[in-house]
Structures are given as structure tokens and as C-alpha cells.
């Protein structure tokens, strides 16, 4: 792994609602290696989007970072003032969002919306920014950018709009690009185009990408490293090859097992039984324990830590610790795993 450009350390983010505090992100730690792509996967509500919004401090008004560090090139973003954060946003770290249909302002031309960041961060004149916007539109593969630059968002298709969003995010040559489910709302063919485009641009610009998604297929295609999130925590952090080849955490195994496969004859899909725990009623022990087929006493009693293993990957599971008190060999969704101790 190359040197990390961004380190998220024990990040905790809460939301304050009428029902009390909701710990949406609870002690998340991961590194973003320079020039590489890290995927954050998880179900809806696992805290992956909140993690990404916390990095840029773009949380809704009732959300708050309660603790932890977000070190970008050694500087803690959590401690920065709002004004300092504005110089980071859209400049060194930028973001693209899930819904291209609603993420662009309907009353401004796409050219204006791209120009804004250039004028703010690169101190360009309106004219220079307009010219640069055309170049950026060309870069993201929009045909006849000279005319498209004066279009309004409603005049573009969903795929085109996501390209505009990418152009906007790349305007100031960011070092980190956060992509929050950038292809979820798009057709499969457009999805593939956008993913290819992002890869090409990464090679060209050399930025790191944090790719938030619930789609393991997209992860396999785009990411170098993967963090699997469950109920506000990272349960497994690994390089993409070992994750797919030999996942360790029961949740990851279950997740991969629930995907449809075409290499074998499958009568039906195997979902993970049970539901994600409610934010107001988190288990005291491992958060996955109530659904885990191998859960033992310690799992239900005590929360496991995220521990680094010999192969460099992190796992949050008692099975791989000396304290494991269950069977030596367990069956996880048809796969055998041997306990560590």
C-alpha cells in the first residue's frame, strides 16, 4: 500500500433527532492510499454515506462529528474552521453524488456551475473559467462541449449530468474524489461508461478515490481496497483481491454469498437472515452477532475491535482472536473458516 493521503481515525458521527442521539458512524478507521481507489460497501443505513459527508463536513444541521480525526496530508479536517473547510471543499477534496437528476441546480447553466469552483479556488476570471469549463466537459466525454456548456441541466440526460458532476468535481484537480454511489441512479450501460471514465481520469490526474457503493460488482471492477461497513462500523478492511477470494468476516461472506452467481446452478438466492439492528437498539456485543450463523457467547457479550491480521487486512470478529470461545471450525454460509486460536 502506498502512503495514505487521507486517514480517517476512529470517526464518530451522530445525529440528534427527537428520539435522541443516533450514532450513525461509530468508530470508523481507514486509510485512503494515494492515487488508489478505496471502496466503502454496506447496506443502506450502514453509515457509509455519512462517513463520506463527514470527511467534507457537509452533514445536515442536526448531524455532528462527535470524535475522531480526519487527517488530510497530516492536517485534521475536524479541527478546521468553516472558512478553512470551504477552501478544501471542491478544491483538494471534491465529491460527486448519487442523484445526477437533482444534484445540479436547475436555474444555472452547467458551464456556470462548473465555473463557480474555478473562480473561487483558482481565482480565474469568468472568461477563463468558461473556457476551462469547455475543456472539462470535453475531458469527461461530452460531445460538442462548446454548445453544451450553455445548456441547463434539464436539457441533458442522466448520464450526461453525471459527467457534468464529474467535470465539476475535477475542476480544481482534486487529490481526493469522494464518489457517493455515482452510478446507482443510472442505466447499466451508462454505469459502465461512467466507471470507465472515472478510471481513465484517475490514471490521468492521479487522484485517490473513495467509492461509496452497495454494489459489490462495482467494487470488484473499480477498487483497490475495500472497507465493509455494518451498522456504523467497519467490519472488514482488505485489498480487493483477498476480499473476493477469501473474505473473513461472516458479514462479508454472507454478503458475497447473497449475490447471484452464473458460474454455478442456483435455485434461489441466499440472503443473510434477520435485519440490520435498529439505531436505537444496538446489540451490546458484536453488532452482527444476532444474524451471525457462528455467533458464540463472547460475540453476544462483548464488542470486538478492528484488528490487523498478518496479511495486513483488518477484521472486526472474535473468531480470529485468541479469545474465541466457540467451535474450532465454523461453517459460514457454506464456507469453512478455522478459528485463529
Amino acid at each position: 500500500m502506498s502512503e495514505p493521503i487521507l486517514r480517517v481515525n476512529n470517526l464518530r458521527t451522530s445525529f440528534f433527532t427527537d428520539d435522541g442521539e443516533v450514532k450513525a458512524v461509530d468508530g470508523v478507521t481507514f486509510d485512503v492510499p494515494k492515487g488508489e481507489t478505496i471502496g466503502i460497501v454496506g447496506e443502506s443505513g450502514s453509515g457509509k454515506s455519512i462517513t463520506s459527508l463527514s470527511i467534507l463536513r457537509l452533514l445536515a444541521s442536526n448531524g455532528k462529528i462527535m470524535g475522531g480525526e480526519i487527517l488530510f496530508k497530516g492536517e485534521d479536517l475536524v479541527k478546521k474552521s468553516e472558512k478553512e473547510m470551504r477552501n478544501v471543499r471542491g478544491n483538494a477534496i471534491s465529491m460527486i453524488f448519487q442523484e445526477p437528476m437533482t444534484s445540479l441546480n436547475p436555474v444555472f447553466t452547467v458551464g456556470y456551475q462548473i465555473s463557480e469552483a474555478l473562480i473561487k479556488h483558482k481565482k480565474m476570471s469568468k472568461k477563463q473559467a468558461h473556457a476551462r469549463s469547455i475543456e472539462l466537459l470535453e475531458l469527461v466525454g461530452i460531445p460538442s462541449p462548446e454548445t453544451r456548456v450553455d445548456n441547463y441541466p434539464h436539457e441533458l440526460s442522466g448520464g450526461m449530468r453525471q459527467r457534468v458532476m464529474i467535470a465539476m468535481a475535477l475542476a480544481c484537480d482534486p487529490e481526493v474524489l469522494i464518489a457517493d454511489e455515482p452510478t446507482t441512479a443510472l442505466d447499466v450501460t451508462i454505469q459502465a461508461q461512467i466507471l470507465t471514465l472515472m478510471k481513465q481520469l484517475q490514471e490521468r490526474i492521479g487522484m485517490s478515490i473513495i467509492f461509496i457503493t452497495h454494489d459489490l460488482g462495482v467494487v470488484a471492477e473499480t477498487c483497490d481496497y475495500v472497507a465493509v461497513m455494518y451498522a456504523g462500523q467497519i467490519v472488514e478492511y482488505s485489498d480487493v483481491v483477498s476480499l473476493f477470494k477469501k473474505p473473513s468476516h461472516p458479514y462479508t461472506i454472507g454478503l458475497l454469498n447473497s449475490l447471484p452467481r452464473h458460474d454455478i446452478d442456483q435455485d434461489e438466492l441466499e440472503p443473510i437472515l434477520g435485519n440490520v439492528p435498529s439505531v436505537h437498539d444496538m446489540p451490546t456485543g458484536c453488532r452482527f452477532a444476532p444474524r451471525c450463523p457462528a455467533a458464540s457467547d463472547i460475540c453476544r457479550a462483548k464488542m470486538p475491535e478492528l484488528v490487523k491480521r498478518e496479511n495486513g487486512n483488518d477484521i472486526r470478529c472474535w473468531l480470529y482472536t485468541d479469545e474465541w470461545d466457540g467451535e474450532k471450525e465454523v461453517d459460514l454460509y457454506g464456507q469453512k473458516r478455522i478459528a485463529q486460536s
Binding site: L56, L58, R89, T102, S103, P106, V107, E116, K120
Partner: protein
């Protein structure tokens, strides 16, 4: 754009014809003989007959309407029965008084309404928001005739403004700002309250949109986010309300002008109704209706400038 405006102007023709038919019917919707009512109780049969001749009441309805319309399109709205002056002249001298009153009231309502609405939305659920909304609720609930009377009581009777306010102004008003301020407040307050509430809810809705988050993610200042990205979207529904309020002010001027003794169109209408001066009533109603239709056209056209998604053609 030009094509759209021309088309809208053409579409106004049937609306105006409808309005003219209604206005024309005024004369015939009065129970009994219009000429007799206009002439008054003690009028001799000769006078009534003369009046019938003058008003052309003996012709068939269609002919009457045709004659009426042919005069109207030439700018002739008939003569006042009371003083014999052409109605159009009467309206000309009064029109600007009412227009000024409505325009000043609209400016006041938009200025206060927008600021209050934006502050309320940006600081929603704070004491500032709550107090603004309580004041707005009062403003909304106060009838303008009551507010007008209270203002006169406070400033005029209590203070030394009364002579100036009640001084008769044969040709319009505006000789003193004191004559202007109170009626404008009386008329504009309700509108300010409506605009404030509309702006607040519209802003709140827009601030929650994805594109506002996108704007923030670009690192632009909060002021740019609110006043450029949010406000331009939030104004679209507010513009409709402003247009409707302007129309309502033109109509509402009837009461305000009467209270403050302003010689505008509203007062002219009231006096004409009291004196059963039907040509004048017809004339003022026609002019006010036309104005209302025009204001609506302007509102529709202004949409296009704010919201590019509306394809006018």
C-alpha cells in the same frame, strides 16, 4: 420569447371580451329599469326617457353591446351621468394615484416579505424565526381597513398629521410623504406577511435540495449558497404571490382610498356606485380587470427568466 408574448397577448383577447360582457351586463343586471334607478326616485318620465335614449337602452342587447364595444376600443368609455365628463378623463386623473399606491405597497410588501422570509428560513426554529412568523401571522390576520383606522388613530389623531392626511387633494396625492406612508403601510402589511410566509416555506424546501449540498461541496460561501443558489429557485413560487398581491392591492385600494380620503380609482368606483353612475362603474371595473390580466401576463413571462425548465412555447 417574443413569439410567446405575442401569443399570450392574443390569448388575452377572449378573456377581455369576457370581462367586457360582464361589465356591459352590469347595466342590465340591475333589477328594474336602469334609467329610472340612475335618474333617481323623483325623476320625471321625460328625464327617464331622455336617459334611456342617451344610454341606448331601447336597442336590442346585441346592438347595445356592439355599440358599447366599438366605443370602448376607441377609448371612449362613455360620459359620467353625474357631471357629464368623459369617463376616460375621470379615470386618467385617478389612475396614477391608485397605481402609485399599489406599486408602493408592493415594493413595501416585497422588501419586508423577502427579508423576513429569508431570515426565517435560514434561521428556522430559532427565536428569530418564531418571532417573525408570529408577527407575520398578525399582519396576515389584520384586515387593512382596521389597520388603516388604527394607523390614523395613532399617527394622525394622536400626532399632528391629521390635517395633512385629511386635506382634500383634487388632483391625486403625494404632496407630502405623510399622505403616502400610512395608506401604503395599511395596504402593504398583509401582502408583506403573505410574501414572508411564502418565501420562508419555499426557501426551506429549496435548502433541503441535493443541489444546495452540491453548491456547498464546491466550497462557495454560505452567502452565495443562500442568495444565489437557493433564492433564485425559491423565488419562482414567490413571484406568483407578488403578482397576485399587486392585483389584490389594486382592488384593496377601494377600501384604503376610502379610509384615507385618497382620490384614486377605488374611491371613484365607490362614489360612482353610491351615485348610481353606471358608465363610471363600468369604466373603472373594465380598466382594473384589464390591469389584472396584464399583471398576470407579466408574472407568467417572468417565470421564464427564473426557471429555465418552463418551456414557454
Amino acid at each position: 420569447m417574443t413569439k410567446y408574448i405575442v401569443r399570450r397577448l392574443l390569448q388575452m383577447i377572449p378573456v377581455l371580451i369576457g370581462v367586457s360582457i360582464l361589465v356591459f351586463s352590469l347595466m342590465h343586471l340591475i333589477p328594474g329599469n336602469a334609467a329610472q334607478i340612475m335618474a333617481g326616485e323623483g325623476a320625471s318620465p321625460e328625464t327617464i326617457k331622455q336617459l334611456e335614449e342617451k344610454l341606448g337602452l331601447n336597442d336590442p342587447l346585441v346592438v347595445q353591446y356592439g355599440k358599447y364595444m366599438s366605443r370602448v376600443v376607441q377609448g371612449d368609455l362613455g360620459d359620467s351621468i353625474r357631471n357629464g365628463r368623459p369617463v376616460i378623463e375621470e379615470i386618467k386623473t385617478r389612475f396614477w394615484v391608485t397605481a402609485e399606491l399599489a406599486i408602493y405597497s408592493t415594493i413595501l410588501a416585497v422588501f419586508i416579505g423577502l427579508i423576513a422570509g429569508i431570515v426565517s428560513a435560514v434561521r428556522h426554529y430559532t427565536w428569530a424565526d418564531v418571532s417573525i412568523m408570529i408577527v407575520a401571522l398578525f399582519g396576515l390576520s389584520m384586515p387593512n381597513f382596521w389597520l388603516g383606522l388604527v394607523l390614523i388613530q395613532w399617527f394622525a389623531v394622536g400626532g399632528d398629521w391629521l390635517p395633512e392626511i385629511l386635506k382634500m387633494r383634487p388632483s391625486g396625492w403625494g404632496e407630502s410623504w405623510r399622505q403616502v406612508v400610512l395608506p401604503v403601510i395599511a395596504l402593504g402589511t398583509g401582502g408583506a406577511a403573505i410574501i414572508a410566509r411564502m418565501t420562508r416555506s419555499s426557501m426551506l424546501e429549496v435548502i433541503g435540495q441535493d443541489y444546495i449540498r452540491t453548491a456547498r461541496a464546491k466550497g462557495v460561501s454560505e452567502r452565495v449558497v443562500i442568495y444565489r443558489h437557493a433564492l433564485k429557485n425559491a423565488l419562482i413560487p414567490v413571484i406568483t404571490v407578488v403578482g397576485l398581491e399587486f392585483g389584490a392591492f389594486l382592488g384593496g385600494a377601494v377600501i384604503t382610498e376610502t379610509i384615507f380620503a385618497i382620490n384614486g380609482m377605488g374611491r371613484l368606483t365607490i362614489q360612482a356606485i353610491q351615485q348610481r353612475d353606471f358608465p363610471v362603474v363600468q369604466g373603472t371595473v373594465l380598466v382594473l380587470s384589464m390591469l389584472f390580466v396584464f399583471v398576470n401576463l407579466i408574472v407568467d413571462v417572468s417565470y421564464r427568466f427564473l426557471n429555465k425548465r418552463i418551456d414557454l412555447n
